[in-house]
C-alpha cells in the first residue's frame, strides 16, 4: 500500500507502532531461532559440500566438546581464563571508579589528566602489549595487566562524564543547605553517578574481554584463546569452532551479568527522569 493511499483513506487506520513481544514469546522465538540455525548449519554444510576446513558441520563441532572434556583441556582452560579475567577486572574496577569520580569532580585534575585519558581511550592500549611483555615478562601478571589496561580507560571515561552530568541545581540546593565538599561528593555526586558507574563497568567488561583474548593469543600456554590458536595451527577446525563457542558463552555470561547489574542500578533513574 502506498503512502498517499494510506493517508487519504477515509477511515484512518489506528496507529500501530513496532510489534511488541512478551518475554515468553521472545524466549520461545529465540529457542526456535537457534535450533533452526543449527539445522541450517548442519545441512547447509552438507548440501553445499563446504569443505570441513572452512566450516565443519555443526555435529562435528558439538562432538568436539566432550572430546575436549575427556582430554581434560576444557574446564582447566576455561577456569584459567576466568581467573585471569576476574582478577584483572577486579583491579580495574577498584582503581577506575575513584579515579573517574576524582577526575570528574576536581577541575584541575580534569584539565591536566583528561587529555591523556582520551588519548589512551582512543588508542587501543594493546599496542603497549610488547612493552608489558618486556617489563613484566610472559606470565600471568602480564595477562592480568592486559585485561586491566583494556578495561580501565573505558570505565574511567564513563564515570568522569557521569560526574559532569550531575544536575547543577541539585548541587546548588545541597550547597545552599550548607553541604561541604565531602558531603557533596557522598550525598549528591556519588548517588547521581551510580548509573554511569554501572554503564562504565559494562563497557569495561567488554573491553577487558579483548585484552584477555589477545593476551592468550600472544603469550599463553593456557586459556581459551591459546586453545583456539593452537587448534587453528594444526587445522583442527571443529576444535576452533567449539572453543570459539565456549568463548562466546563466556563473553555472554560476563556481559550479560554486567548488563543485569546496570539495569538494576539505573532503575531508580529511569523512573525519575526518562
Amino acid at each position: 500500500m502506498s503512502a498517499t493511499a494510506e493517508s487519504t483513506a477515509p477511515a484512518p487506520k489506528r496507529f500501530k507502532g513496532r510489534k511488541q513481544f512478551t518475554r515468553k514469546q521472545r524466549i520461545i522465538a529465540t529457542v526456535i531461532n537457534l535450533v533452526l540455525f543449527c539445522f541450517l548449519w548442519e545441512y547447509g554444510v552438507k548440501f553445499f559440500e563446504i569443505k570441513p576446513i572452512i566450516l565443519p558441520p555443526f555435529s562435528a563441532v558439538v562432538a568436539e566438546i566432550p572430546e575436549m572434556y575427556e582430554e581434560g583441556i576444557l574446564f582447566s582452560n576455561l577456569f584459567f581464563s576466568l581467573r585471569i579475567y576476574l582478577t584483572g577486572m577486579l583491579f580495574s574496577i577498584i582503581l577506575s571508579i575513584p579515579l573517574g569520580l576524582l577526575l570528574g569532580g576536581v577541575k584541575v585534575l580534569d584539565r591536566i589528566i583528561s587529555p591523556y585519558l582520551w588519548l589512551i581511550y582512543t588508542t587501543p592500549l594493546l599496542i603497549l602489549m610488547p612493552l608489558i611483555l618486556l617489563w613484566v615478562g610472559i606470565n600471568d601478571t602480564a595477562r592480568v595487566l592486559l585485561v586491566f589496561i583494556s578495561a580501565v580507560p573505558a570505565i574511567v571515561v564513563v564515570v568522569m562524564e557521569g560526574v559532569k552530568t550531575v544536575d547543577n541545581s541539585l548541587l546548588r540546593a545541597a550547597k545552599s543547605f550548607g553541604a561541604r565538599k565531602g558531603t557533596l561528593f557522598r550525598k549528591v555526586i556519588f548517588p547521581a553517578t551510580v548509573p554511569f558507574i554501572a554503564t562504565g563497568v559494562k563497557m569495561g567488561v567488554s573491553r577487558g574481554l579483548i585484552g584477555l583474548f589477545v593476551g592468550e593469543l600472544f603469550s599463553s600456554a593456557k586459556g581459551i584463546g591459546y586453545i583456539i590458536e593452537l587448534a587453528g595451527k594444526v587445522f583442527n577446525m571443529p576444535r576452533v569452532y567449539a572453543m570459539l563457542f565456549m568463548f562466546i558463552l563466556f563473553s555472554i555470561t560476563m556481559v550479560g551479568g554486567a548488563q543485569y547489574l546496570e539495569r538494576r542500578f539505573s532503575s531508580w533513574r529511569s523512573q525519575a527522569s526518562m
Binding site: S2, G17, F21, R111, L209, I210, G232, S251
Partner: protein, 247 residues
C-alpha cells in the same frame, strides 16, 4: 593551552625519570631518543608505507561496514519481527570480542590485506548496527503519531522523523565503529604481521629497539586521535538540531 602545558610537563617528567633512575634504553627510552628514532624511520622511508598499509584496509573495511550496517540497523530497528530474529545473534556477536574470530578468518583468507579488511569490517559493523537499531527504537512515538495525523505516509515518517532522530545515534555508531575497527586492525597486524604500523611495532620490539617502538606507537596514537576527532566532529554535526551538544 593547558593541554600543551601539561604535555610539556609530561615530557620533562619522563626525561627526568630516565635521567634520575638511569633506566636502560630497552626498558624505557628517553623522549629524545624517541624523537631521534622518529627521524630515522622517516628518513628510511618506512613510516609512510606503514601508515598507508594500515589505513587502506581500515577505510575499505569501515566504508563497507557503514554501507551494510546502517541500512541493516535501521531495518532491524523498525521491524519487531526482524529484531526478534536477529537479537540472539547480535547479542552473541556483541558480547564476544570480534578478534576471537581472527583465527578463523586467517584460515579462510590467509594473512594479507583481505583478512585485515574483513576484520575491520566485522569489528565496525556491530557497533554501527546496534546504534542504528537503538536509534530507531527510541524514536519518540508521539512524534510519529503527530506526523501521521498530519498525513505523513510510512515513507515520509521514515525520512522526516525517524532518520533525523536517528542521526546522532548513527554518528555515535560510526565513532564506535572507527574505534573498534582500529583495534581490530591493530591486533591482526600485531599477530599476523603483514605490513602496517602494528607490524612495525612488533618488529621493533623483536629487535629490542624500544625507542623505535615508542615512535611507531606515537604515530599510531596521532592517527587514532585524528580519526576520533573527525568522528566527533561528525557526531556534533549530526546532532546539531538538538539543543545541547555534549562532547
Amino acid at each position: 593551552m593547558t593541554a600543551l602545558l601539561s604535555f610539556i610537563a609530561f615530557l620533562i617528567l619522563w626525561q627526568s625519570i630516565v635521567w634520575a633512575t638511569g633506566i636502560r634504553e630497552t626498558l624505557l627510552p628517553s623522549p629524545g631518543s624517541v624523537v631521534t628514532s622518529f627521524g630515522e624511520i622517516w628518513g628510511e622511508g618506512i613510516l609512510w608505507p606503514a601508515i598507508v598499509d594500515s589505513l587502506q584496509p581500515l577505510f575499505l573495511g569501515l566504508v563497507v561496514a557503514l554501507v551494510v550496517g546502517i541500512p541493516l540497523g535501521l531495518l532491524i530497528g523498525s521491524s519487531g519481527w526482524l529484531d526478534l530474529i536477529a537479537a540472539p545473534y547480535l547479542w552473541g556477536f556483541f558480547a564476544t570480542p570480534r578478534i576471537a574470530t581472527a583465527p578463523v578468518f586467517i584460515l579462510w583468507l590467509g594473512l594479507g590485506f583481505q583478512t585485515k579488511t574483513v576484520l575491520v569490517f566485522i569489528s565496525a559493523l556491530l557497533p554501527v548496527m546496534l546504534s542504528c537499531k537503538e536509534g530507531v527504537q527510541t524514536v519518540d512515538e508521539s512524534l510519529i503519531r503527530a506526523a501521521r495525523s498530519f498525513g505523513a505516509g510510512r515513507f515520509d515518517v521514515f525520512r522526516r522523523v525517524v532518520v533525523p532522530y536517528t542521526l546522532p545515534f548513527i554518528a555515535n555508531g560510526i565513532r564506535n565503529g572507527i574505534a573498534r575497527g582500529f583495534v581490530g586492525l591493530l591486533i591482526i597486524e600485531m599477530t599476523v604481521g603483514r605490513g602496517g604500523i602494528g607490524q612495525q611495532v612488533i618488529r621493533s620490539m623483536g629487535n629490542f629497539d624500544t625507542a623505535r617502538m615508542f615512535a611507531f606507537t606515537a604515530v599510531l596514537m596521532v592517527t587514532a586521535l585524528f580519526l576520533i576527532t573527525l568522528s566527533r566532529k561528525l557526531e556534533a554535526y549530526a546532532s546539531r538540531w538538538r539543543e545541547e551538544v555534549y562532547l
